[in-house]
Amino acid sequence: MSEDQITGQISQDVAERLAAEALIVDVDGFEGPLDLLLTLSRTQKVDLRKISILELAHQYLAFVEKAKQLRLELAADYLVMAAWLAFLKSRLLLPPDPTEEGPSGEELAAHLAFQLERLQAMRDAAAKLMARDRLGRDFFVRGIPENVERVRTITYTATLLDLMQGYSRLRTRDEFRPFTMDRESIFTMEQALERMRGLIGYAGHWTDISSYLPDGWEDDPQKRRSATAATFAASLELAKEGKVELRQSDMFASIQLKRRDERHG
């Protein structure tokens, strides 16, 4: 098949021929062989249902031929399609071979026509869809949506098994627990009481109870916390015993302590 014959088949006038050539140069613009076939089919200017698949096969093969001459790299699937269309063409042209298995040329052509029609239909549908009134372009949501506060109510639950497993976990651990006690950073109330009993004799004036913290316990926060708590608890015990008076000027203000004079008591 000569190039002139092919071009003659594709287009009758110069404009169409130029379009066809532009089409070839623009091979990257096609989304695969089916898209190309659909574009080529438009030159037949008929309803897709009445399209001549044979003619379309000619057009496609001519396209591939032309692309080769222009040394355009065609993706493999274009070549696969070309080979298949050549096969289809021969099937459509030759009388059916009764020994041959598989679908007839007509069946294959009909399916290809269906695929083209379906692809075209989807393109039309896509265009109609995109042309609809659209949110954010034609119609709009509330510009100042109001906050919906989420109120979460959580119900906690447990089963008796959870409870027993929890308990047995603890007891099991107990049996294995090496007996270690962290005494280093704990100042007990008894220790505080003992210390304070020795000191309150000198507390004739209001003194901040923090001044009763044992030496060396102020720096480490953990130690200071334990000592503060123990000293405070001991102060309360002493107050209860009537040995001291406590006062605090304001909430969270420092607590002050003074020996309770027997005369006043």
Binding site: E31, G32, P33, L34, D35, D77, V80, M81, W84, F87, G102, P103, E107, L108, H111, L112, F114, Q115, E117, R118, L119, A121, M122, R123, D124, A125, A126, K128, L129, M130, R132, D133, R134, L135, G136, R137, D138, F139, F140, V141, R142, G143, P145, E146, V148
Partner: protein
């Protein structure tokens, strides 16, 4: 009007009158940018309310107005009337321009849902790039549907409520031209006869094209 309405406290025992229920639905729908389902309306309204009935009244009330009560899937929303879009230049949001591949893929998913990637490729005749599907998923216009019960159990894609909302569709049944396409047999998934070349790349060979239409479109 405000006098004869039930207060929320009373409504624990007795449902508010329908006019009051309509006001409630109105307030909830106006407040939300997202469509609200009837189920959620009922959950938020006092016990005994019938959101569906109140909605019917409300929808009627807003007919022909500047804003409308629209159905979006199984949810409801207030949206401005499309004929007034010309007033809204200020509110227009830049919509990302979708590629031709993305637009076609979206249309195929909408019209053929639930649809597998292999089926989309079969229809378009090319492989569907990951980016295209990802973009549509990210826009929340499509989501994964149920897996197809065929070898390989391929995932399917369906369109979302956001999709319906964006294109002003009550349901996927209202897609333009759906009936005609179906009547013409163009939504069928005909298996190709024996020796057709496979169109589109099939990453998963098992993803075969069986099963016709979605239950969505059967009536």
């Amino acid at each position: 009007m405000a006098e004869d309405i039930d207060t929320p406290a009373e409504s624990l025992f007795e449902a508010p009158v329908i006019a009051e229920q309509e006001r409630m639905v109105e307030a909830i729908l106006f407040a939300s940018a997202e469509p609200v389902t009837v189920k959620e309306l009922n959950a938020r309204m006092p016990h005994g309310c019938d959101a569906a009935e109140a909605l019917a009244h409300l929808r009627k009330r807003y007919e022909g107005r500047g804003v409308r009560v629209v159905k979006v899937g199984d949810a409801w929303a207030v949206r401005t009337a499309p004929d007034l879009g010309f007033l809204m230049q200020k509110e227009m949001s830049e919509t990302r321009k979708l590629s031709r591949a993305a637009v076609e893929t979206l249309a195929i998913i909408a019209y053929h849902q639930p649809v597998t990637r292999a089926e989309i490729e079969e229809i378009r005749g090319v492989s569907v790039s990951r980016g295209t599907v990802d973009q549509l998923l990210e826009m929340e216009w499509i989501r994964f549907g149920r897996r197809r019960m065929t070898p390989g159990r391929p995932v399917t894609f369906v369109v979302t409520q956001d999709f319906l909302d964006h294109f002003g569709l009550e349901s996927a049944r209202d897609l333009p031209g759906l009936k005609e396409l179906r009547a013409a047999g163009l939504l069928e998934n005909r298996p190709p006869p024996g020796s057709m070349p496979k169109l589109g790349e099939t990453d998963d060979d098992d993803e075969e094209t069986q099963i016709g239409q979605s239950e969505l479109f059967e009536d």
